[in-house]
């Protein structure tokens, strides 16, 4: 065979496939995606699409070159890494001399599959279901105060719903550090969002689900709409028995390789960040860079390690926030430009190593400047 198979249909997969071609690979490139639509961006699903200002079509990425064979609605069901073959849900078996695993992750649900009324947001379908439900709803409970949960809460609030966010931890704090989390939560509260902390976790009640309960049943919030934004699970079940190391995701080395001739990229890929500690980095910038790295590691066995890049952004509660640097942000920042009172500000975090992170809030600055304010840590080598 003279073929590289890319399993997955999102930005990491699309970037890997297109990079193979851009770097001159002449064999077959076959991309296999479980979804029925061609690659799209999930970024605006929680914002413009849910708000009704962006169409689903606006999320579609530019079409892949036609020398990439895109198979939609087909799932990879097993991998035999010894004989270099992937089994597909169509019954077909594809041999390969290179494989990119980019099967991503799925939303974690809190109820068992047969229960209805728990909404999640991961795919275009999820966004449509949620948007349809939105119109008849007056109140919502969002379980999970991470980036996704807070963005959804913000969109629902804008839509006129009464919104309560419930999480085990104070919202965003574990991700962003206390300072920036406090800034965002304060703004969210000003706009009317309610927050509750449930340290021991919550239970979704009813079928369809119409309440969220915690604290041994002493605390309950009802909602016309219940949305879970409680993290994601890597799609690795099909890799059981493949011989690859699995730990929350597919374990890759610093070049993005899981084994010889097998790379992984995007939300499914996990790197060892400390002894026995593996972490996935599920955000757009990383998916792009890992997709490129995966393609290059397959084409050039001598390729060196790549540096993950630390650049994220979020839009919520009237705040457009761009972040360069490693999270969470520790301690208090310095104001570089703008003003906190006006909620338009450029901030910089430093520690004993020097500058470590920079954040813009409602400020238009070139991202390159933001990254340089974050010191060398956020920019790829």
């Amino acid at each position: 065979v003279n073929r590289i198979v890319v399993v997955g249909g999102s930005i990491a997969a699309a970037t890997a496939a297109a990079t193979l071609r851009a770097d001159g690979y002449k064999g077959d490139v076959v991309m296999v995606s479980e979804e029925l639509v061609p690659p799209y961006s999930r970024v605006s699903l929680s914002k413009g699409v849910l708000a009704g200002t962006h169409s689903l079509d606006s999320t579609l990425l530019p079409a892949l070159p036609n020398d990439i064979e895109l198979r939609l609605g087909v799932k990879a069901v097993y991998l035999d890494s010894q004989t270099a073959r992937v089994g597909l849900s169509s019954g077909e078996i594809l041999g390969f001399d290179g494989l990119v695993i980019a099967t991503g992750a799925r939303a974690r649900r809190l109820t068992e599959p047969a229960r209805t009324g728990e909404y999640v947001l991961r795919t275009q379908d999820d966004a449509m279901l949620l948007a349809n439900r939105l119109s008849g709803s007056r109140s919502a409970v969002v379980v999970g105060g991470g980036f996704l949960g807070m963005e959804v809460a913000s969109t629902l609030l804008n839509h006129g719903l009464e919104v309560t966010v419930v999480d085990r931890d104070p919202p965003l704090e574990r991700l962003l550090g206390r300072w920036l989390a406090d800034l965002i939560v304060a703004k969210a509260k000003t706009l009317g969002t309610r927050f509750a902390v449930a340290p021991a976790g919550v239970e979704l009640v009813g079928d369809p689900v119409d309440r969220v309960r915690w604290n041994g049943g002493d605390s309950v919030v009802c909602g016309d709409l219940i949305v879970s934004a409680a993290g994601d699970l890597a799609n690795i079940e099909w890799l059981q028995g493949s011989g690859l190391a699995l730990a929350d995701g597919v374990v890759v080395d610093d070049r993005g390789l899981a084994a010889s001739g097998i790379a992984a990229a995007g939300d499914v890929a996990a790197r060892e960040i400390g002894h026995g500690v593996f972490r996935r980095i599920p955000h757009w910038t990383n998916a792009v860079r890992q997709g490129q790295a995966a393609a290059r590691a397959l084409l050039d066995p001598s390729v060196g390690p790549f540096q993950p890049e630390h650049y994220f952004w979020t839009e919520q509660f009237g705040l457009e926030i761009k972040i360069a640097g490693k999270l969470p942000l520790r301690g208090d920042p310095r104001v570089v430009d703008g003003s906190l009172e006006e909620c338009s500000v450029l901030l910089q975090w430093s520690d004993t190593r020097g500058d470590v992170a920079a954040v813009s809030v409602n400020q238009r600055i070139p991202v390159a400047r933001l990254k340089s304010l974050a010191g060398s840590i956020s920019s790829p080598a």
Partner: protein, 62 residues
């Protein structure tokens, strides 16, 4: 090939990072195309740069 940056651009600069031969940022931090018409030998890389936009702000016309 012609490219256009729509008003969806939020200035995340993934296009510039991926295809610096084709894209640059203007003074306000928005993406801009360096060419009226992308030269044939840069079409692949231009497409790559367009596709990595997280908000699908770059429109490709053949």
């Amino acid at each position: 090939m012609k490219l256009e940056v729509s008003n969806l651009c939020e200035g995340h600069a993934l296009c510039v990072q991926t295809a610096p031969e084709v894209f640059e940022l203007d003074e306000d931090g928005y993406a801009r195309i360096k060419f009226d018409r992308v030269p044939a030998d840069l079409e692949r890389v231009a497409e790559l740069g367009a596709r990595v936009c997280p908000v699908a702000a770059i429109v490709v016309e053949q």
